[in-house]
Each structure stands twice: as structure tokens, then as C-alpha cells.
Amino acid sequence: MANTLDQIFVLLSRWIVSLLPVALQPLVGILLSVVAIIAVFPGLFALTTVLERKGLGRMQNRIGPNRTGPFGILQPVADGIKSLTKEDIIPTSADAVVHFIAPLVLVVAVFMGFAVLPMGRNMQLVDMDAGLLFFFAIGASTELSIFMAGWSSRNKYSLLGAMRAVAQMISYEVPLLMSTVAIVMITGSLSLVKIVEAQNQYTWGLPHWYIFTPWGFAGFVMFCIAATAETNRSPFDLPEGESELVAGYFTEYSGFKFALFFLGEYLGMFSISGLGTTLFLGGWSAPLQVLNFVPSWIWFFSKVMLSITVLIWIRGTLPRLRQDQLMNFAWKFVIPMTLLNLIVAAVWHFLGDGWLRWIVCSAILLGVYVIGGRVQMRGKKFGPRSYRYAE
């Protein structure tokens, strides 16, 4: 019974495919999975917009939208109708072709990233041997669309926002890739399906998720930082800083194209949360062995929604980083830490099983983190926090 519920979508798609003639079967199989992805993730996107606006509202001591539907649940419907019926304004001096293509390239590239994520047991669209490499290659293509959007608008704010965004995304590409290389090294495969299966083992009821190892935890922290920077979320949202750059690189976009950019940004958030879940949090595997009766796709989506909630929480809490601060942080702190993480993962592997490797690896990572942090902060002078009230 538990197994049927777990595989219900796989069985459903196999049943639909078996109703059709043999010649069409592979095509329809793939099409069904594609339609499922295109239906589910924009639905989650709608849910997340409500979650974000209400959540941010409560953190900022105000109520979010509450007019449309009970507790503002129908707000995405209102937003959708608004964006679809707004006039599509293109500035006269803008480059019409590039201006049109930019949101399309973004959305296509982001949707392609979902193809390799294993959303449940046997529930990935394609099981590629080099799945992780494919995901990162597609992620690198999104930067070009942001540049195209900013440049084609012929607007100083857009261009500045686009330049900042591209510089930030290139700087944090390296920590993103390097923090996952330790995982690949220990698993021995670039295939996301094999990485999840390697984490699906249990000792004393606790799972072998990589986040529970010292190098995995450090890698997860660095992956989160790099992922937040890659998707241009606070505290790295200088490119779309609303108080500085109007709306950054999508200043000149209105109506449906703006909705496409918004969709692309949130879907990017989902896909990179999905990747983080797969690599570090065990993908679709359950936290305790006794909980294996719950279907695997429920675990995957709960972990993704948990990551999204944490991202929204961080957005409401931390202040924005300046451009030079974030680039310094990337190149001078995070990248050396990822290289050290790689060495520590190798030490972990070669010290063999036992308690010694836990102590050695944690000591190395903590020691370098504390010393590195202190050395870099030595030159900066911070006084005690002071408050100014409006009297």
C-alpha cells in the first residue's frame, strides 16, 4: 500500500502511456512528465507569492495582503489577471528583438533545470549520467538573459542593475560549483539519482544525509550562500534593490513580460532549492527509517518548501550587502573555504569509519573558519551598536 502511494504518479503515467499505440509511447511518456512539471511548479510559485508577502508582512510587523479571499489566498489570481491585462510598453529606443527574447530565454533555461531533479523514487524526468553538470550548465545560461534584459532597455538603471547582477552571479558561480564537488567526490557519480540513493541508507535509524557530516554541513552553508546570491535574493539583491535602482534590470518591463521574469526568478529559487535538497538533505529520503511509509515525493516537496521558507525568512531579516562587500566575500572567503572543504572531504574518506574522523574534520573546518573570519575582520572598526529614535 505504501509502495503504491509512493509510486502513484509513475504508475499513472505508465497506465496512460499503455493506452496509446506503441509508436507514440516514448513521446507521450516524456510529454506527460513535462506537462506535470509545467503544471506543478507554477502552482507552487503562486502559493509561494502568498507565503512570501504574508510572511514578510508579519516579519515587518504588518499584515500582508488580506483582501482577496480568506487570508489573501487568492492574491496570485489577482496578480495574474493584473499582469495579463496590463499594457505591454516597450520604450521607443529599446532594442525590440532582444527586449522580447530576454524573458523567454530565462524561463526556458529555468524550466530545463527541473529535468534532472529526482522528485521521488523513480520520479525524475531524465536520468542523465552527468546530471549535475547539465544543471549547472543551464544555470550559467540564465546570466545572459539578465544581461540582455538590462542592455536592451537602453536605460541607465537597467544597465547598472544588469551589470551588478551578472558580476554577482559570475562571482558566486564558483562557490556554488565547488561546494558540490565534495559531494560528487564522496558519492563517485555526477548523477543526481545516484547521489540520493547513496544518502538513502540508515544507521541506528538516522539517515546518511550529507548535511550530517562536517564537510557536508560546511558545504551546505556555502551552497546556501551561493544559491541566495545566484537567485538575486536578499541579502544579495542589490541588482533589484528597490530603494536604489527602481526595479533594476526589469525596470522597463510591464505586463506579461514582467510576470515571466518574476516567474523565472521564483522558479530559479525552486530549482536551486531542489538541487540543495537533493545534494545535502537527502532528496526524497525520509528523516527516520520508521517514516518510510510516507511517500517519497511528499518528503521532497516538504524539504523544498522548508528551504523556500528559510529563504523568505532570511530576506525579511538581513540587510542588503553592498556590491564590493559581496564580491570580497565571495572571492576572499567563500572560495578558499570551499577548497578547504574539498580537502576535508578527502581526509574524511581516507580516515575510514570511526569517531576520529568526525573530530579531525570538524576541528579543521571550525578552526579555519574562526581564524579566517578574525583575520579578515581585523581591519574593520565596529563600535557598539547605537540607536537613534525619532524624538
Binding site: 532582444v98 545560461s141 545572459l144 544581461f147 540582455m148 542592455w151 551589470m163 551578472v166 557519480s189 548523477s191
Partner: protein, 166 residues
Amino acid sequence: MNVVFWILAVITVLGGLTAVTLKNTVHCALAVTTAFAGLALLFLQLDAQFAGFAQILVYIGAVAILVVFAILLTRGSETPAEGVFSRTWFAGLLIAAAVFAVLGWAVLHSVAALPNESAAPAVTVLQIGTALMGRYVLPLEIVALLLTAAMLGAVIVAMHEKGEQK
């Protein structure tokens, strides 16, 4: 030869042609990006998945962005005064046509000697990794040194010199 190959070939060649003939430099950079994408898909069609994904990651994700940054830093997006083609454009075109004629003649002349389609090689990433650490470890280390030297060199060449007006 199937439809997919023809479509990809047309995309690649058209991308290359528009990249060298358009007036606006940024449009040229975007057109050459589509040529890179077409080539990456051709690699995927040739069952070289690692090369295809590496092509997307490096060329579209890094080289194209580098080219675009350089165009913006050197004000290449403004239209030049005397046209976009150099004074000796005809000689260049003639040389390129001659090169294509020679290469095309060589390929078509040796069609009979070219091998036919063999079974698709099942290349796993594990094999590539073993090859890189075994047979090709020396080129790997040399490329690592080369990339380090190139990175340091590019930073030093493009850096503002001390005392120079910014």
C-alpha cells in the same frame, strides 16, 4: 542524415554568419552565443555529452559574458564612424572563401575513405574521470597551470596602473 542534424547545422552556420555581418556589436555577441549553443547541441548529437555540457558551461556561461563585458567597457555599442568592415575586406573574404573551397574539396574528395556509422559509444563520466587522472594527467596539470597564468595575466593587463588617470 536526419532532420535534427540539418536544423542544428543551419542554426550554427546562421549564427556564425550573423555574428560577422551585423553592425551592432552586442547583437554580434548574442548571435555568436546561438552559434555556440548550436555547436553544443551538435556535440550532444555526437554522443559526446561531457563535451557538450562543458561547451555550454564555458562558452555560453563565461566566454559570451566576457565578450559582452568587454564590448560595454570599450564603448563598442556606439555605431562607428567609418563603417564596420575594414578597408581590406575583399581580400579577407577571398581568403576565407579559398580556405572553405580547399577544405570542402578535401572532404568531398575523400568521402569514400571516411568510416561509416559505428555503434554509439557508452561513455560514462567515470571513464572520463579515470582517463583524466590516468592517461591525461599531464595535460590536465598543464592546463591548470595555463589557466592560473592566464587569469593572473588578464588581471594584470587590464588593471588600472598606479598613477594613471582613471
